[in-house]
Amino acid sequence: MNYDELIRFISYFLDKVFISYAFLLIFSYTALSIVSGIALNYYLKKNSFVDYSVILDSPLAPSVSVLVPAFNEAKTIVDNVESIYTIHYNNFDVIVVNDGSTDTTFKELQKAFKLERVNFAVNHEIETKEVRGVYKSKLETYSNLIVVDKENGGKADALNVAINVSDKDLFMAIDADSILEPDAVLKLVKPFLERTDRRVIAAGGVVRIANSCVIENGRIAEVCVPKNLLARMQVLEYTRSFLMGRMAWAKLDGLIIISGAMGMFEREVVVQSGGYAHTIGEDMELVVRIRRYMSEQREKYKIEYVPDPLCWTEAPSDVSTFGRQRSRWTRGTIETLTDHSKIFFSPRYGAMGMLGYPFWFLFEWLAPLVEVLGIIYAIILYFTGNLSLNFILITFLFVYTFALFFTTWAILYEELTFHRYEKKGDVFRLWIAALLEPFILHPISLFFSIKGNIQYARGNRKWGKMERKGFKHKQGSKSKVQLLAKKN
């Protein structure tokens, strides 16, 4: 084989690889969207008959701990803890863990909730960093609030401490900046109550972007499309991911991620499988590990997914914060996938091994790499005269129309299901963002995904700093804590 033949062979091979990959990706996303549509339709029909209030005062309802890890959240922590108290549920407690913050997070909590140290004996079922003290509120309204002050050990460690402190059946892990819908716990608890022969070990819900939304007394008072273009494009990304992707994966029993911003788990299973691991993507890693644990124990189980918007979070609105987040997500994905490579195409792990894991490996980890290689390959072919500009343009148009079609499909799902963007022109604004997304968000995202891969290869396992701008609060709305403080 001479040089020209070798080049021709490589070129032929690469052509086939890139084309097959692109078509497989389009086929997968289309199939997932169809499955998701079927699952959403069933859920909505089913949900229209559900009266969640029956859980509220039922003696048969399970107990729940809401776990809130906090690190340097001094500005927002009091508002955020207060927002948790807007949830509708009876049998619950709130465990806030101050993970060795270097700012005044703990002092703010202590002052606002009148905390006093108690003789709490912590059961160290999961190994963690040292606990400095456990505190409870003197205020009657917050009698079920437990605040743990501990040495800094990262988000996973803080969550593990909270799990050790909790004595409830289920726990819901949320981010300190998450704003919960009032019925979030009720809706997440329900799948656990529907257990038949398969044990429900976890349930996830939809996380939405709260940028530009109006917050009143810890609740979303007005849903708005973000004014910031980067955040608005992330609304589309979240809609696609949560409403189309995860819904379908739950239906196919291949869901391997529940957002760290909000997820509910059966405490016992998490403890038995060792708690949260000290990784960058601790949310995904935990889901994979508890699934592995259940499969290896040969226990029938399932992970449920609730498509209702249950939690609102702040999306990064500047490129550097967005970039740090995406690099971290990429590193987290790679770390989880490599740590659990054993399940790759292993029938022992059911749909997770045969579908979920391979999909994440091929289309979440490898997609940015394949895309960049494809672009480089196309440039080489163009400059060596082996590819016409027309073909490049037509390929770009192909990818662009698919992206636009897919996002529009997601907007349609949102409109037919929960239609939370009710203001005039909201849908139009979202669609305009969809037109621009492939030119703005996608290249940025791609760049930081590649950066994440490089960082991972260099051994970077840091979480990174996440700066928050804070939410837009309705003028004049006072928090319950403020009112109580005034009263006292």
């Binding site: 084309i19 389009i26 029909k45 089913k46 229209s48 008959f49 009266d51 029956v54 859980i55 039922s58 003696p59 048969l60 309802a61 006093e116 108690v118 003789n119 709490f120 004996a121 059961n123 160290h124 079922e125 409870k136 329900k190 656990f192 109550l193 529907e194 257990r195 038949t196 022969d197 016409s388 027309n390 073909f391 037509i394 390929t395 148009l397 192909f398 129309t401 698919f402 636009l404 079609f405 529009t408 499909w409 907007i411 349609l412 409109e415 037919l416 239609h419 849908v427 669609w431």
Partner: protein, 399 residues
């Protein structure tokens, strides 16, 4: 409002039908010109690209995506407008019918008047709104009003509409039928509703159970006899809620304690416990050696909630043979009964290696009262660090 998506509005199509041929001609012409344009674009593209299967496929897929996109956009707009229109229309009719029914209830209108003045005969949508209104007003829990509403429902022949729903293919429509018939106490379709009990669709199954509880007031829990599918906690919560909110005759739940379906047994144990059916205690005690650990756990809780002191000896005897969750249940139970005589048994469990066992034993000792607290204080003097911590925890009134 939840009913909205299931009904099709009946328009007056007469005028529209007359102009159909013209409209079709315009639509076909428009489609023809679009197809021509698309063909021209494809040809133009192929002229500039090498002719091969891949290029053709890519171009055709672009067309497919583009056309789908063009279809999706108006679909979004139409769905938005349609939902808003449906909402307004529903609300308007709802208000109108509410007024009519109130007039009927105070004697200003007869059923025939309502029938004549509304579109109930011609429009299914109107019939369904009327059923919604009747059910909403009937929630007032006044027997006279309830009887009058039921009479109106039957006079307007709305029961036929509800019965028709039971035969629909779609399970959610069947549920609407069950809800309406059970709410209006129409018993003629009971057999059909019973047949839904063994369906795989859990929502339909729950609704048929709930419907039967309302329709069979003297044997409301007969469905338990033939319960083959797992009786989920969600179903149990719904049934329990129905018992609490309605005047339903509560049976002796121990009658189902020998049921082959463990989930039914667990439900009955919960009901015996919550409803304090003390007479069931001997029957419950018979289940103490049940094969299923979950059932056994419920048996322990139930016995203690029924204050069955005679069960304590048996529970102590079986303690060492049990897994950790049931050991905890036993310790908790002894604490709940505040039996000073058991303090030594509990103290013995403080030697356990398991934190949870020690904690539960400590809690139970503390619950005994002054004697228990004094014993814990005495024990803490020579206790190891972990036990000291547990005792301090248990004795801290703020936790």
């Amino acid at each position: 409002m939840l009913l909205l998506d299931q009904y099709i509005i009946l328009f007056d199509f007469q005028e529209l039908m007359n102009s159909v041929p013209d409209l079709l001609f315009i639509v076909f012409e428009l489609l023809g010109s679009i197809v021509e344009r698309i063909q021209a674009i494809i040809n133009y593209t192929f002229e500039r690209l090498p002719y091969n299967a891949l290029n053709r496929l890519i171009v055709y897929m672009i067309m497919v995506f583009f056309i789908s996109l063009m279809l999706l956009l108006p679909t979004i707009l139409i769905s938005k407008l349609y939902l808003a229109y449906q909402k307004t229309r529903y609300n308007q009719i709802h208000v109108k019918y509410s007024k009519a029914i109130i007039a009927y209830l105070i004697g200003n209108k007869e059923a025939n008047d309502i029938c004549d003045q509304t579109k109930l005969k011609s429009s299914r949508f109107h019939r369904n709104v009327m059923i919604d209104v009747l059910m909403a007003i009937d929630k007032a829990e006044n027997k006279t009003v309830s009887d009058k509403i039921r009479a109106l429902y039957l006079d307007l022949k709305l029961n036929q509409e509800s019965i028709r729903k039971l035969d629909k293919f779609s399970w959610n429509k069947k549920i609407f039928g069950i809800r309406e018939l059970s709410h209006m106490r129409v018993k003629s379709e009971n057999q059909k509703i019973i047949s839904f009990q063994q369906k795989n669709n859990d929502v339909l199954r729950i609704e048929s159970q709930m419907g039967l509880i309302k329709l069979l007031p003297f044997v409301p829990f007969a469905f338990l006899d033939s319960q083959e599918k797992p009786f989920t906690v969600w179903e149990q919560i719904n049934v329990f809620d129905l018992i609490r909110k309605n005047r339903i005759e509560i049976p002796e739940f121990h009658l189902w304690l020998d049921h082959w379906n463990d989930s039914v047994v667990m439900f009955c144990l919960d009901m015996i416990r919550v409803l304090k059916q003390k007479q069931a205690a001997p029957k419950v005690l018979e289940l103490i050696n049940h094969d299923n650990d979950f059932v056994k756990g419920k048996v322990i809780k139930t016995l203690i909630d029924l204050e069955s002191y005679e069960a304590i000896a048996k529970l102590k005897e079986m303690y060492h043979l049990e897994e950790s969750p049931n050991q905890l249940n036993i310790l908790r139970s002894i604490g709940q009964l505040k039996m000073e005589s058991e303090i030594n048994f509990l103290e013995d469990k403080l030697k356990s290696d398991e934190f949870k066992i020690r904690m539960e034993a400590c809690k139970s000792i503390a619950k005994i009262g002054e004697t228990g607290v004094a014993r814990l204080n005495a024990l803490s003097v020579n206790a190891d660090e972990e036990l000291k911590g547990i005792i301090n925890h248990v004795l801290d009134p703020r936790i």
